[in-house]
């Protein structure tokens, strides 16, 4: 009777704390060297290494029961990591369960930030590298290709990717519901702290037309503006020039209101047809809450953004059951197709010269 099986072993963010994941992470050179070692393992017919900041996983087709253990040992040796400790949080799945895990990872169902899509690209890179190096064969080729198709299906048939789950991205998404595209949106950042900077960066990454930074300390505003490729504005100019901006991000530590209702009303009188999106991330608040009543003015504070992020996260969670059901169904069907190939005794030597090193190592979105 054959002991051939499909497996995945590794460590993920679910059971492995970040301090440990740091010790397990592979840089490009380490990965290349490890792959060469794995390629030489007797009984390992095919394999792929997936290394991101949230997981290190080895997908393989083994000829015998001891092979997965040997892969883990080789990895621990290279990382100078205690195998017993590795075993304490190790993920290990076989056959249909391994395939289901593969689909779930590709679909973002297993990600720390549920439904994120970056992992899909990282898996594609990992697979492409393994394929190019000859580390994959008929089983993993089919498994990965089908897993990518299934992951797309999970995304289209469920809502796991809808709604942003970080405060900064929620703000950007809200801007989209007001302005559509951001290519002509002018942004004013009031305050040069970390929170405002994060939000400003999120807007820049979505192609905002311009960013202007104003802070009570002009030199700090200029410093941040330079770092972000933005322009700086003297803080006292914020009110007279408010009408020039479409989105205002307030994140100062000022103890009092810095954008009074009169300033917003005056700005809107000069641009009545154009919406103004005000994001108040400060505590105490920077913007007079009464401006929320003004026509074409949309005011969101920190609590509003956090609540929306939480609702989105909960909505994604609610969709995971549906996603996992699709992944399970696809994995079972795929396993029926692959089982005979996987369990058949290997007719070729377990390690072949073609198995050179290839892997993708990239940060997975947290």
């Amino acid at each position: 009777m054959s002991n051939g099986h499909l497996f995945v072993i590794g460590a993920t963010h679910h059971r492995t704390p970040i301090e440990v994941r740091e010790r397990l992470s592979l840089d490009a050179d380490d990965t290349a060297a490890l792959r060469d070692q794995l390629a030489a393992l007797t009984g390992l017919r095919e394999f792929t290494v997936l290394s991101t900041c949230n997981r290190i996983e080895f997908y393989g087709v083994a000829a015998g029961p001891e092979v997965a253990e040997q892969v883990g040992s080789a990895f621990c040796r290279r990382q100078n990591f205690d195998p017993a400790e590795f075993a304490s949080f190790r993920l290990e799945l076989r056959d249909a369960a391994a395939l289901q895990h593969l689909v779930e990872v590709a679909a973002g169902l297993d990600s720390q930030m549920l439904g994120e899509t970056e992992i899909f690209g990282q898996m594609k890179q990992a697979y492409a590298a393994a394929q190019a190096a000859g580390n994959t064969g008929p089983v993993l080729n089919r498994a990965f290709q089908k897993a990518f198709q299934a992951a797309k299906q999970v995304r289209t048939q469920t809502a796991i990717t809808t709604g942003q789950v970080s405060v900064a991205n929620v703000a950007v998404e809200l801007a989209g519901t007001i302005f559509g595209g951001l290519s002509d949106a002018r942004i004013l950042l009031l305050g040069a702290g970390e929170i405002g900077e994060k939000t400003a960066k999120a807007f820049q990454s979505r192609g905002a037309a311009s960013l202007t930074v104003a802070s009570r300390r002009l030199e700090r505003a200029m410093e941040l503006a330079t770092a972000l490729g933005a322009s700086a504005l003297p803080f006292e100019q914020r009110e007279p020039r408010l009408a020039e901006f479409d989105i205002v991000v307030c994140a100062t530590s000022a103890p009092e209101i810095i954008l009074p209702g009169s300033a917003v009303r005056a700005a809107m009188a000069r641009r009545p047809a154009r919406p103004l999106f005000l994001i108040d991330q400060a505590l105490p608040r920077d913007i007079d809450p009464a401006v929320a009543e003004l026509e074409n003015v949309f005011l969101y504070n920190l609590d509003d953004l956090a609540r929306i992020a939480e609702e989105n996260r909960a909505a994604r969670e609610a969709e995971t059951l549906k996603g996992r059901a699709i992944a399970g169904e696809k994995a079972r069907a795929l396993w029926q197709q692959l089982a005979a190939q996987v369990t058949a005794p290997s007719s070729t030597p377990a390690s072949e010269p073609a198995r050179t090193s290839a892997s993708a190592s990239a940060p997975e979105t947290r």
């Binding site: 709604g163 007001i178 559509g180 919406p275 929320a292 909505a315």
Partner: protein, 281 residues
């Protein structure tokens, strides 16, 4: 001949398809939490083709554009709105617009079909030999179709406005276009509707101002009032006086007024004696 259906059978089929699009969209929205998109669009397209066949048969039977009674006017208005939707909805990401359009089209077409008296007085060649008069009528009713789509985008604007102000952004609110896109679309549709209606009125004024023809004064006043209201709304919007929510509400009122005015602008009303049309096939 496409199929051995009468014009009304085709129009019933069209109404049923629009209704199917609306029901299918409702199921998608309220059960799956997202618009049906392509499926709704396909049902509307099929309904549109059926309605085109029905109106085509009716047009052949009456020897011109079928605008001879209230039934035909409502049918033609719905058809005009769908024509625009099929262009606009396919160009922009407006999946919810299809849902609302299916709702409006099914309502208008079904109501017009359910009242046989609206279709009792079919008139043949009501526009006489002058094609400009027919163009005038067709353009005027087409502009009402544009106002129908304007009403739908205004409704979507109000929903989006409500969602942003009340900070409820999940569920099917997330499928609404951005508030600025809806506002821009509203302005463009209003401008297009006003221009088409204005042109129709101008054509009518030039070609009907002849001693041998009699024009119903009530109809003239109502049509000019609707056109005037559309231009006034546009002016107020462009000058920044009527904005956002108030503009959207005004557009809805404009459409309601235009729809109600169709009863008074029925072509040939009180001018050409009605006579039964030949059985349309």
């Amino acid at each position: 001949m496409i199929l051995p259906f009468t014009d009304r059978t085709w129009l019933w089929l069209a109404a049923a398809l629009y209704l199917a699009g609306f029901i299918q969209g409702s199921i998608a929205l309220f059960k799956r939490g997202r618009p049906a998109g392509g499926a709704t669009y396909a049902l509307i397209l099929l309904g549109y083709l059926a309605q085109l066949a029905g109106l085509g048969l009716r047009g052949r039977a009456v020897g011109g554009c079928p605008l001879g009674n209230a039934f035909e006017l409502y049918q033609f208005t719905a058809w005009s709105a769908i024509t625009l939707y099929l262009v606009v909805g396919a160009t922009f990401r407006l999946s919810l617009l299809g849902y609302f359009t299916a709702c409006l089209a099914s309502t208008v077409t079904l109501v017009s079909l359910l009242f046989p008296s609206w279709d009792a007085g079919q008139r043949v060649r009501i526009f006489g030999p002058n094609p400009w008069i027919e163009l005038h009528a067709a353009l005027a009713v087409f502009s009402y179709g544009v106002f129908a789509l304007l009403a739908l985008t205004s409704l979507m604007f109000l929903l989006r406005h409500f969602s942003l102000k009340s900070k409820r952004l999940g569920g099917w609110f997330s499928f609404l276009p951005s508030i600025r896109d809806l506002d821009h679309m509203g302005v463009r549709l209003l401008a297009a509707g006003a221009a088409i209606l204005g042109f129709a009125v101008a054509v009518g004024a030039v070609h009907w101002a002849r001693p041998e023809t009699v024009v119903n004064l009530e109809k003239v006043l109502v049509t000019v009032a609707v056109a005037g209201a559309a231009f006034a709304l546009l002016l107020l919007r462009l000058r920044g006086i009527l904005l956002a929510r108030r503009f959207a509400v005004a557009c809805l009122i404009l459409y309601a007024a235009a729809l109600l005015s169709l009863v008074t602008v029925e072509p040939g009303r009180g001018r050409v004696p009605a006579r039964p049309a030949p059985a349309a096939r």
